[in-house]
């Protein structure tokens, strides 16, 4: 840029730059809306609209087929909060989460630590342990169903070799145990996340701990664990939410028949989302089912908030997570 032009711009500062700045702002805004519009349209049509619709339905007694939608106010919510069936399903779901979340988090962390050690066949072991995570949930549930078959399954054959009586894995209270086994079996993805987290632990800190005479347990407790704690918090939230929403194993571990699938779900596996499914598609009570979904959303939100409140304190962030907040 020449001195002359610089001088000219100094003497005539007014309209042209304002127009230019305004044009830039408009261009920036158009670019912003252009880029977010696919997401925005998708969110409105596929998330906000269905959610709004479901909330509306929760105040009606709609049967899902006719155009008749009697307004019932808070009746459905009252039923959700007082129905012994729903509360029983909710308690089963919470028990399931109380078992699955710690077992999955601690199990995947322990296996990740083992697989992080230098040893022969490490890659093969990592592949084998991760394999269940890439098996589609439907296929996994069906494989386990064959394994747990009372009369011809592998599980009872092993028991027979040990001279033990056959167990009816898929019925009664054992159906709940079978579902837990299926859910825990697929902890491979947690292992991979933990393995990735373990790679991020600064080598110099581990080295320093070693030089200071810290043993493996002390190093793990005071160096490794704080370093990977944000990942563990993320996993805890994720596993809690997915476990609370358990549905596929409950459905697919149930024996089939020529009648409805749901009628064969064992009472022990009648978890919350199964109850919701029944209300929608067996009982045609779309209003009640929607109210159950809304209540469940609040429960999940509250649990997530509790996890953040109590576990968040123990999380060590290398970068201040509040940085940049006004």
């Amino acid at each position: 840029m020449s001195a002359l032009s610089l001088g000219a711009s100094r003497t005539r500062p007014a309209p042209a730059p304002r127009r230019g700045a305004r044009a830039r702002r408009i261009r920036a805004a158009l670019a912003f809306y252009g880029f977010i519009s696919p997401w925005l349209v998708g969110t409105i049509l596929l998330t906000a609209f269905p959610v709004g619709y479901a909330v509306y339905i929760s105040f009606t007694d709609w049967n899902g087929m006719t155009s008749f939608m009697p307004w019932v106010g808070l009746d459905n919510y009252r039923q959700v909060l007082t129905s012994s069936d729903t509360l029983s399903a909710l308690s089963k779901t919470l028990v399931l989460a109380a078992i699955i979340v710690p077992v999955s988090i601690l199990g995947s962390l322990a296996l990740a630590v083992l697989l992080n050690k230098r040893m022969h066949g490490r890659t093969v072991m990592r592949t084998l342990i991760y394999l269940p995570a890439v098996v589609p949930p439907v296929a996994a549930a069906l494989i386990w169903k064959v394994i747990f078959d009372k009369n011809s399954g592998a599980a009872n054959r092993i028991l027979a070799l040990l001279h033990l009586n056959a167990v009816s894995w898929l019925t009664g209270q054992m159906a709940f145990v079978a579902m837990i086994i299926v859910l825990v079996w697929a902890i491979g993805s947690g292992i991979i996340i933990n393995l990735a987290a373990l790679q991020t632990v600064p080598a110099e800190q581990l080295e320093a701990a070693k030089m200071d005479g810290a043993g493996p347990l002390t190093t793990f407790r005071h160096v490794t664990l704080p370093a990977i704690s944000p990942i563990l918090l993320f996993q805890t939230v994720l596993v809690t939410i997915t476990t609370l929403q358990t549905f596929i194993p409950a459905i697919l571990l149930s024996p089939i028949s020529d009648s409805s699938v749901v009628t064969n779900i064992q009472p022990a596996n009648d978890v919350y989302m199964v109850d919701v499914y029944e209300q929608y598609f067996d009982y045609s009570r779309y209003g009640l089912g929607s109210a159950m979904i809304v209540v469940f959303f609040v429960v999940i939100l509250a649990l997530t908030a509790l996890i953040f409140k109590f576990l968040g304190r123990s999380v060590f962030y290398a970068v201040d997570p509040t940085e940049g907040r006004s």
């Binding site: 906000a48 749901v262 009628t263 009982y283």
Partner: protein
């Protein structure tokens, strides 16, 4: 920046949420004015319009050959099939864009689809039909009738494609004889008590495993229970179809039988469900009996050729002394009230259930026809088929519509409730009397909720 102050990212998102919410409310406002009818007047007959008809039916049931045959008979029509899916059907009905034809079980759905104005009243179509004549239509199709208060009389809302008397049963003659049981006359009904004894003799268990079940898969479905109770002169559902009562002596007798069969492990039960249905289990040599109707003839011949030489087809068992042998399905088709081309839809019903398509299927032994005139094409090519036909012909005298369906809930809802309660009596400590009370309370709650949802 001025632009971002007036329309920030956050305000865009807030606006998007509000827009979505208000959009969600629009169709609902119009929906609120809807009414539920209790029955509908006969529809005016519409001619077949050229185009495509969409049939909702289980994948593979209507073969390509049959579709081709129909399209040759009606060159102006094309058939598109969509798989049976209750969720999708509900969505299509609610959106006012239903399939042109829906495959369903007449015993289970007629009161519901007719009373809620979902199904087209087909009286006028049947009156002008050149394929269906009142005298020729078999009585089983009465399950597709609804008069506003009762199933079995009134207007027609559908027709069976093929059907069976589903309380009839089959046994493996070798296993029967090996258990030391005397061969039975197929047309003489066995009692449920005798059946339990026979099943006990054929069941083989060891080490907690059962290698042979003497009895079929006993599911506590409302239509099976109602059929058992009907043979003892009782009934489950009230005259106004709004309540049930399982506490009568006849009903408790039926419940006791189902509980005993489950408790003793004589057959798969709701507490020990089968990995499959009767057919595959029987052909695999794991089950000695099957509670299936006539349609099992063709199924056995095509699925397990040779197995039929061991089978005997028998009259429906009795709990009491009244011979009643109902159908649990009368599976066929209904036409949604908002179908776009009802003339073409009815053409499908005529061709598939009474015309050339029906003839082709019925001659394969896959079920009984909807019309008397097609009874003659039932296959009688060998001793097995002739024996089956003899038993079946005798049983036709005992067909009766046993009222089980209600306009206030689909049978799926009732069966789900029964399946939840029964295990408490089979594996738990619930007595039959307590089970009867629990079933009555729980099913009545389902019916009451359905009634309330209809604003009644």
């Amino acid at each position: 920046m001025g632009f971002s102050r007036t329309l920030s990212r956050r305000s865009v998102l807030r606006g998007a949420g509000a827009l979505a919410g208000s959009t969600a409310a629009l169709p609902l406002l119009s929906a609120c004015g809807g009414q539920v009818g209790t029955s509908s007047a006969s529809a005016k007959v519409q001619a077949v319009k050229p185009g495509t008809i969409t049939i909702m039916s289980p994948t593979g049931e209507i073969t390509d050959d049959l579709v081709k045959g129909f399209e040759q008979a009606y060159p102006q029509l094309k058939v598109t099939q969509i798989n049976t899916d209750a969720t999708r059907l509900n969505a299509m009905l609610a959106a006012g864009n239903p399939p042109d034809v829906v495959r369903d079980a007449g015993t289970d759905v007629t009161p519901y689809i007719a009373s809620q104005g979902l199904a087209l009243n087909l009286d006028a179509y049947f009156e002008q039909s050149s394929v269906f004549h009142d005298a020729d239509i078999m009585p089983v199709n009465n399950v597709w009738k609804w008069d506003g208060t009762q199933q079995g009389t009134g207007s027609r809302y559908g027709i069976a494609k093929d059907w069976s008397q589903d309380a009839m049963w089959w046994y493996d003659t070798q296993l029967w004889a090996n258990a030391g049981l005397a061969a039975r006359r197929p047309t003489d009904p066995i009692t449920y008590a005798e059946l339990l004894d026979a099943a006990k003799a054929m069941t083989k268990s060891s080490g907690g495993k059962t290698s042979m079940y003497g009895l079929w898969y006993v599911t506590p479905d409302i239509d099976r229970i109602a059929a058992m109770v009907a043979t003892a002169g009782g009934k489950i559902i009230s005259d106004d179809l709004a309540t049930v009562d399982f506490s009568s002596p006849e009903a408790q007798q039926a419940l006791a039988w189902i509980v005993q069969a489950g408790k003793q492990g004589l057959g798969y039960s709701v507490a020990n469900p089968s990995p499959d249905w009767d057919g595959p289990e029987m052909f695999a040599g794991k089950q000695a009996t099957a509670c299936q109707g006539y349609w099992y003839t063709g199924f056995t011949e095509t699925t397990a050729p040779g197995f039929e030489s061991k089978l005997q087809f028998n009259a429906a068992p009795l709990l009491g002394s009244t011979r009643i042998s109902p159908t649990f399905g009368a599976v066929g088709f209904w036409i949604p009230a908002k179908a776009k081309n009802p003339g073409a839809s009815f053409a499908w019903l005529e061709w598939y259930c009474g015309g050339a398509g029906a003839k082709q299927r019925i001659s394969a032994g896959d079920g009984l026809p909807s019309v008397h005139s097609l009874l003659s094409v039932l296959p009688q090519r060998n001793d097995f088929e002739r024996a089956v036909i003899a038993t079946q012909n005798n049983e036709l005298d005992y067909i009766k519509v046993v009222q089980v369906a209600s306009p206030y809930a689909l049978n799926t809802a009732i069966n789900t409730t029964l399946a939840k309660d029964f295990p408490q009596a089979i594996t738990g400590s619930l007595s039959v009397g307590q089970l009867a009370d629990l079933l009555t309370t729980d099913v009545n709650a389902v019916l009451a909720a359905g009634k309330k949802a209809l604003g009644k």
